[in-house]
């Protein structure tokens, strides 16, 4: 009798694990990088970066738990290239982008990499784009990888995205977001589900 119960428990456990894995195949492996030098040239802990535009207005704010700066190496002669050509690995990046006269956009992720003097930031692992809407609702978009160009206030991905808003959910593959005119383009396989209106 005991043996039967034991077998049953094991089978149930295995089925549960199988369901969990198949339901949310998270991105665990980081993006493929070209050969990375062994040691960073600088490590910065708990940093906050503020970027202002020529008129002195705050454009974006980037908080990072740990930032590791690397120089790229010239493959021909193994000599380090200039700092502009380097990149910075980010852990727990938290990016807030500001526009005039509207609520800011906030983007968080597990990992990131800033390149081209921070003009391109690639984020991956539980990427969440959040914004509170004028009518009190919330815009929450989740994906597992996103490329952000903060100075242009643009973001895009070719991955699956889910957007939750006050009375609906949209899923798609591929997305482009313009944070200035607040337009989100969903690029393929779009499915929107809206709750029915409550009876008057």
């Amino acid at each position: 009798m005991l043996k039967k119960i034991l077998t049953l428990t094991v089978i149930t456990g295995l089925v549960l694990v199988a369901v969990l894995i198949s339901e949310n195949p998270k991105i665990t492996a980081p993006l493929k990088l070209e050969s990375k030098p062994q040691t960073p040239v600088a490590i910065i802990k708990n940093s906050t970066t503020r970027q202002y535009n020529p008129q002195g207005q705050l454009e974006y704010l980037l908080k990072v738990e740990t930032a590791e700066q690397f120089l790229r190496v010239n493959p021909k002669n193994d000599k380090p290239l200039s700092a502009e050509k380097g990149y910075t690995e980010l852990s727990q990046p938290d990016l807030t982008l500001f526009q005039s006269e509207q609520t800011p956009w906030n983007i968080t992720a597990e990992n990131g990499r800033a390149e081209n003097n921070g003009t391109v930031i690639t984020l991956w692992g539980d990427v969440v784009v959040y914004r509170s809407l004028a009518d009190g609702g919330e815009y929450i978009m989740s994906t597992d990888q996103l490329e952000v160009r903060p100075l242009e206030q643009l973001a895009e991905t070719d991955r699956a995205v889910t957007i939750r808003s006050p009375n609906g959910v949209a899923n798609a593959v591929g997305m482009r977001l313009n944070m200035i005119n607040n337009v989100t383009e969903l690029l393929s396989q779009v499915k929107g589900v809206y709750e029915s209106n409550p009876l008057p």
Binding site: L186, V190, G192, S196, N197
Partner: protein, 148 residues
């Protein structure tokens, strides 16, 4: 069906564009909308939202098509037009530009514009170029049944 109004509205399409300033999301490319037995298919479907939910839906196509089953024991109502405006809360549908509605009972209406009330299953047609109504003659079988 009367219960359609309580069903979620599901829309599928090739791509979409959502504008948070206007509250409008436009679904483009083989767009289909389903809400219970209510179905709309079109080239594009525009959803206008307000804080309390979906305000109205505009479908455009060559033509855009609408169908719904008014009651369980009634035939499908089918309609088409180049533009279909579905006012979700009011449960009304306005068909405009080459509008046609087939009530499944053999009668069809063609007009520039047709207003269809989902709750009452009642339609009103209007148009500069006139309204054309076709009512199929009753077959002998039906008329015989009525005489007994």
């Amino acid at each position: 069906l009367p219960s359609d109004r309580n069903q979620p509205i599901e829309i599928d399409a090739e791509r979409a564009e959502r504008n948070d300033k206007t509250g409008v999301t436009t679904f483009i490319g083989n767009a289909t909308l389903t809400q219970g037995t209510l179905k709309i298919s079109a080239d594009s479907i525009r959803v206008k939202q307000n804080p309390s939910g979906v305000d109205n839906i505009v479908a455009e196509g060559q033509p855009a098509k609408f169908q719904q089953q008014p009651e369980a024991n009634e035939p499908l109502v089918k309609a088409e037009a180049e533009k279909i405006l579905y006012s979700v809360a009011k449960e009304t549908v306005n068909l405009s530009v080459n509008a046609q509605i087939d009530r499944g009972d053999g009668s069809t209406i063609n007009s520039d514009s047709i207003d269809y009330d989902i709750r009452e299953s009642h339609s009103v047609a209007s148009g500069d170029s006139g309204v054309k109504i076709v009512i199929q003659p009753q077959t002998e079988e039906n008329s015989g049944n009525e005489q007994q």
